[in-house]
């Protein structure tokens, strides 16, 4: 069995199920894991990263049970948590060498890999600066660099673009797309535009359950004929906003063009428009 198999995975915290009966399979490529806050994305990622035991079900990576054979999985795992810290007293180079030692990479190889990943994330020039002096975006790049030290077969990145400026976000997305060749990259996000152009496959979660296992094209197709554009005055736009799922509003010359996601035309004069992935996502999670 190759790739990732997730079978009936569930995790309960007290009486609340954070994840329930989630199943899917995938191989190499970039898998987008999307869903609103509290959908269970981080719980799923922590289980796959061997940090959290599942309450029900199992996950296997290339035949190794993630829960029972964590050591084997960690050998080929790269993980960037949503929120992580660094040793601010160390330089970026020494922090990465520290983690390469903890990943069991021999010293000489670790030194070389550190240089390679620093170059990959464009931190060569800042490699010998202390991490305490790094910006949020630079720290995020250090985070992805540490996840790549062992050239992982499975790379899990949880909300990597939150807190980054738009330029950094684009750069990060492009980098992740490049990394997906020959390995599985699981990118968790609630920012749909992060996965729009790079993910070949999407897993949608809502309230801990698998809502859809699809592709961006299929998801967009499923929302075709259910996205509307209507131009009204401000008062009407406000009323429409309170009654419908709105995906965008543009004000111009005293009029407001509102983009609405819903099964039926929301108002007289509304015209169907081609959905974006964000429209389709909103349609799916609010159905």
């Amino acid at each position: 069995m190759t790739g990732l198999q997730v079978n009936g995975l569930g995790r309960r915290f007290g009486s609340r199920w954070a994840l329930r009966d989630v199943s899917f399979e995938c191989e190499d490529g970039l898998l987008g894991l999307v869903g609103p806050n509290g959908a269970g994305k981080t719980t799923l990622m922590r289980i796959l990263a061997t940090l959290l035991p599942a309450t029900t079900g199992a996950a296997n990576w290339n035949g190794s049970d993630v829960g029972r054979e964590g050591r084997a999985v960690r050998q080929v795992l790269g993980y960037l948590p949503q929120s992580f810290g660094v040793y601010t007293e160390l330089t970026a180079r020494n922090f990465l060498r520290y983690l390469s030692a903890m990943k069991g990479i021999p010293s000489d190889v670790g030194r070389r890999r550190t240089d390679e990943v620093l170059h990959l994330v464009n931190l060569d020039r800042d490699a010998d600066r202390r991490l305490g002096a790094f910006s949020g975006g630079m720290l995020q790049r250090v985070g992805i660099a540490q996840a790549l030290l062992n050239d992982p077969e499975m790379l899990i990145v949880d909300e990597p673009t939150s807190g980054l400026d738009p330029a950094e976000r684009v750069r990060f997305r492009t980098m992740l797309a490049g990394l997906a060749e020959g390995r599985l990259v699981i990118l968790s996000t609630h920012i749909v535009s992060d996965v729009e152009s790079v993910a070949g496959r999407l897993i949608l979660l809502r309230e801990g359950r698998l809502l859809a296992d699809t592709t961006p094209h299929e998801l967009i197709a499923s929302a075709r004929g259910r996205v509307w554009s209507v131009t009204t005055d401000a008062a009407m736009a406000s009323r429409l906003q309170s009654q419908n799922q709105v995906s965008g509003m543009v004000a111009s010359d005293g009029e407001v063009t509102t983009r609405i996601v819903g099964p039926a035309s929301p108002a007289a004069g509304a015209v169907p428009v081609e959905p974006t992935l964000e429209d389709a996502y909103l349609y799916a999670v609010n159905r």
């Binding site: 940090l51 030692a101 903890m102």
Partner: protein, 297 residues
Amino acid sequence: MSEEVVARQPVTPMSVMAWELRRLVADRNALGLLGGLGVFFAAVVVFKHEWLLPVNDAMRQFIPVEGTTAFGEIYVINSVLLVFFGLLVPFLTADAVARDRGRRVHELLMTSCVSRAAYVWGRFAAALFAVLVTAVVMAVASQIALFAMHITEANFPEPNLGAFVAGWLLLIVPAAIVMGSISFSFGTLWPRFATAVKVALVLGWIGLSFVVDIGHNLGWTWFEYWNPSSTGMVLELWPGIVARYVASGATAASALSAQQQLPSLSAWVVPHVGISLIALVLVALAAARFGRFQREL
């Protein structure tokens, strides 16, 4: 990115310790802290390095104990250095693992290949090493202070380094292991309560060092030997010094010469090694119970 498969090897506690020490050394505050502690210990010894102890039960005659004689060096360690050192140890060890959770580095480390046992033992070894380095700084600072007093005060004998080293090995090292193991283990198993662990241990050490001399009060002579703070040790040794003083004529010169001979400390060896080993069992327990998983998240 290179195409070759990255070679991997088991992560040993030694490797964990070496990298943790490297991290500690990189901390700009570490050297200043160590220097400050050295100055503090030197100042404490300058402030308290001479005592008057009674020759008999009637407390009518006293002889001075100089901090640089063989007995005096043990006295300095037992009654001055060890008390402050014991208070310091929990602050150097309780957070050795707990700190990673607070700084959110825990998940990065726990998704690497390091085993729980290698991680916990490696961190403990690094923390203990840091404690022992502090103990060496304390030793050097105190001896420099005592030597300075020997130079400046005509009647103050030269420090007896042999006695000091014996006392350091028999009193300081076991105390470091015992206090270090307890605080590290509890701090590792209950990271959220690491501060409470430190406070409890500090209060416990104060209790053992100052407040209750349980061995004397309850007649538990065994406790005199098994107590990691070694409270009451100098009182146990004192009658032997007095006997030597009386036997050699009870003069001022014999008071000094009676102290220059290192009293037998052998009765403390087995208990202090014993409590050190028992304390290390706690670290083994912490390594066994330490969770890679974070249930609280």
